[in-house]
Symmetry: C2
Subunit: 555 residues, 2 copies
């Protein structure tokens, strides 16, 4: 090669060097692609270089916990300045790498339980946040400007060639591995077991460099399980309003539900209240949803036709396996999840996203960011945004679009229904409605370019509280929108500051609807309407197929 | 099973029946998963049932042409009422199935060369269009309400187990196969050859039911090749305006280019004009793009850091293989494309989409639909829409968002740059600017719920013609927007009807910019600026690695 000629395979050459170092140091501890469990720390020292972009599989549920622990045990003098790419920060180890000086930069989506510590590390200058993303956005960047040099993933099992079985908990693995393996990166998988023959191959061995049997099965959290016993009658009332005032009104057939008791109440009212309204077969037919236990009664009642899932849910394995007409399952009978495709479906193929939030401002912007906590967004921004690239029509999408356009001369276009469902006061009597989101202060503290808003007001179509539904699609001015929001904000300061006459006018125009406007008798809003009132009812509804995790077995 | 008990594995049982029929009828013509080429028609008769949703792999480039031909040869008395799901209708056979009464319904994305015949079949009542989609939207529906019962796909090679190698032309295959295989559907792959050992495994055999060696390699079209000899000096001028007035102005690092000579001109001006402006390293670094031959000089000049591709491009195989630092390649050295992930990246990880269109109205809505042709949208709606779920910031995104927000009190938010680039008159002196899109009449003819708009005016940020750039982000009223559009519409009737004074006012405010406002000397807009002026120059720039298809070898 001439001196002035550029080399175009530096990444591949570098990869070969890393692999050669690993082979040399691991010796007999490396059999093909299978690494001796005790040598994983050494493996990482050989294949990870300072400054690498490292994608650690931290999912909504599944965690590559053994690899996370091992990464946090590396010698920061040898491996440092890592740029971590991660869907979810769930475990203490996910932040230990920053505390110990092994990693310096972070791009992520959600930090749930670690949100407080994350904020502290940022303040202490130990962690530089690149950006907070919605999952699908982060996956997109893996193929553009944040391609990992090293991916540390988790699978159920590997065979001796290095093929992986991710089973029901596939989640983010395909997206991570594809981006890494096809750009000369290195893929290391921790597996629960190494077997001769896999139930099915989910990731071909060609895409995997190393597999290691972890000392314990990977950590997984039952994030979507809600005990029906904890659903309040206020939540039953809100669920009735949602079903009659939104699901039925727009004939919402394809949808996603956020996590929480509010949406669990809706799920449990489908076979009872919704059925009594004659809505079976007309609403809630096709879902992008993890296998929520609360959905079992609706499935059994024949309400639900299909469910495609981002990830699985602990305890639902046998139930899903026994309902392949509803769920996506593999030739081995177990579920197939895939967060990337389910998020695509949630964005483009669903008519509605409904979820909860912590704070809503007078423009309808909402955020789960509160002071001292950098919690991230997860999938909500992707699903809770109008999918402006969507072109296929459905009755729900056309009706929402028609309402948004009414009285204007804009080009006809549909609209996604984005519903924020909140009680006016959340725990500790914190008002859910505020003049100014905490996100503004947080942005200043953490030096973000703009406030971390989860769902923007102009994407929200309805706000639902125990006081009623505000239909923001029909608002034509900023003032109308503000009064519609105040009009369902109850006894919060924001609600009390309403212009009562204007709110009554909005009510006359159908922009604000109270339960009585919807023909809902509040006295019927009792827990008796729930198709399952406790965990045991869910198990019974599943014909014993659902096996709740221990912490939910309270009978 | 009790009489009143519901069965939950009807799909799987049905699948087993289909497979059993195939095994019985094919006998020795079926070796494992490998089907005798002469028996594919018989196979289809056994595994396809009336009314099935059949996904036929018709991609932007790669076509499952043998399977398409065979499908069109089935006995319509035995197999009919099929619901075809297809990204692209490219071949006559794709419509023959409707003409012959084998299929009745169609959901698709793009129909390019078949657009005229498609419109005729719709008029004749032989074909019922479900909807026109953007690619990623159609993939999303595969997991929600349009899951295929049968998928007919194309791969480069299969091994004797049925593992598939899709190589550089992976395109849509993973999305189609995953949706079908994990919902008890049947996957049939045509391959160019059956080999003992694949260069790499792209689709595991567990996801494939049948593989057949096609009599000829699958059809593939060099859709993204543009001969630089055909680039006009008007296009050079427009490319200069794009580079100085948009790419440089917003510092656009991550982007996608639509197909066409307009964007090819930009690609060929990067190493010359853009470099002379000092923009190397500041614009056009990371791309979601097929391997455009016109990008070769910019790659060689070190302008381009990475390219992730939807599909490949004929003749670029060796060049891509020799540039793995830039392109995504597999362990075998050949490219990895993936339309689903590249569309996700185009939507969420790119700061700009720039493409051409056929008609633009006074609100900035644009469409490629013209009378008598139902051509569809391809990837443009997905990439040419503001990604409202995006949360990570970049300078380009923030600046566009700031311009959109200026003078309002909306929540700060970024904006995607969506640029429509057109000459004011297209071929046959048809004006590109119109009072009313043909899409309105087409919607009426084809009984669509709403007009088929490719990119909506409120998603477009800039319109670029030979007369100048209209920055719609800065327009605050409908009237301003209309005059900004008229102000770059040249001598079209729409352009001539401008309010000249208002346009001058918009020019003073930087909303309309002429070449001279950008400091561009029109006399310099000559073909001399192109880094390659013909196909041979491209081959030379590639060091002989690029091998243009025969129809482009004009030297």
């Amino acid at each position: 090669m001439a001196a002035n000629e550029r080399s175009w395979d530096r990444q591949r050459a570098n990869r070969e060097q890393r692999l050669a170092r690993a082979r040399e140091r691991l010796g007999a501890g490396l059999q093909g692609k299978i690494v001796d469990t005790n040598l994983v720390q050494e493996l990482m020292h050989q294949v990870i270089e300072c400054g690498d972009r490292v994608c650690l599989e931290g999912n909504n549920q599944k965690q590559a916990d053994f690899l996370a622990r091992t990464l946090a045990s590396l010698d920061a003098g040898r491996v440092n300045d890592l740029h971590m790419l991660q869907s979810v920060l769930a475990l203490p180890e996910h932040l230990d790498v920053f505390d110990k000086g092994i990693a310096a930069k972070l791009d992520f989506s959600f930090s749930g339980p670690q949100a407080g510590r994350l904020a502290k590390l940022v303040s202490a200058g130990k962690l530089n946040i690149g950006a907070i993303h919605t999952y699908l956005e982060l996956f997109g960047r893996y193929f553009i400007d944040l391609t990992p040099q090293v991916a540390l993933v988790a699978a159920q099992a590997a065979d001796r060639h290095g093929n992986l079985y991710t089973g029901p908990n596939t989640e983010d693995t395909p997206a991570i591995v594809e981006a890494t393996a096809f750009k000369s990166g290195i893929v290391i998988a921790q597996v629960n077991e190494i077997v001769d023959v896999l139930p099915r191959i989910d990731i071909p061995a060609d895409w995997v460099d190393f597999a290691v049997a972890a000392p314990t099965p990977h950590y997984i959290e039952p994030l979507f399980t809600r005990d029906p016993a904890l659903i309040s009658e206020i939540q039953v009332l809100m669920a009735m309003m949602a079903i009659k005032g939104i699901y039925g009104e727009y004939q919402v057939e394809r949808l996603n539900h956020g996590i929480g008791f509010d949406t669990a109440a809706i799920e449990l009212l489908l076979p009872t209240y919704a059925a009594s309204l004659g809505l079976k077969g007309k609403i809630g037919r096709n879902w992008a949803l993890n296998p929520h236990p609360a959905l079992i009664p609706a499935i059994e009642a024949g309400f639900v036709e299909t469910v495609h899932s981002f990830g699985s849910e602990l305890g639902m394995e046998d139930y899903v396996r026994a309902r392949p007409d509803v769920f996506f399952t593999g030739p081995d009978g177990s579920m197939r999840s895939n967060r990337a495709f389910s998020q695509v479906a949630g964005h483009y193929a669903c008519d509605m996203f409904i979820g909860s939030t912590l704070q809503i401002d007078l423009q309808g912007n909402s955020s789960t960011a509160t002071l001292g906590r950098i919690s991230g967004f997860g999938g909500a921004p992707n699903m809770g945004a109008d999918a402006r690239g969507r072109r296929h029509a459905s009755p729900a999408w056309l009706k929402a679009g028609e309402e948004a356009r009414r009285g204007t001369n804009a080009m006809p276009r549909g609209r996604k229904l984005v519903v924020q469902m909140v009680e006016t006061f959340r725990e500790h009597m914190q008002p859910a409605f505020v003049e100014t989101l905490d996100a503004w202060q947080l942005a200043e503290q953490a030096k973000m370019a703009i406030p971390p808003v989860m769902i923007y007001g102009d994407d929200v179509t309805h706000i639902l509280t125990e006081e009623g539904i505000a239909n923001l699609l029909l608002c034509r001015t900023e003032e109308e929108r503000e009064q519609a929001i105040r009009g369902v904000a109850g006894y919060t300061p924001v609600g009390l500051a309403r212009d009562a006459r204007m709110v009554e006018n909005l009510r006359d125009r159908g922009i604000v609807k109270r339960p009585e406007d919807l023909g809902i008798d509040k006295r019927l809003a009792t827990r008796d309407l729930l198709a399952a009132r406790n965990m045991k009812d869910l198990v019974r509804a599943s014909h014993g197929l659902y096996k709740p995790p221990k912490q939910f077995r309270n009978w």
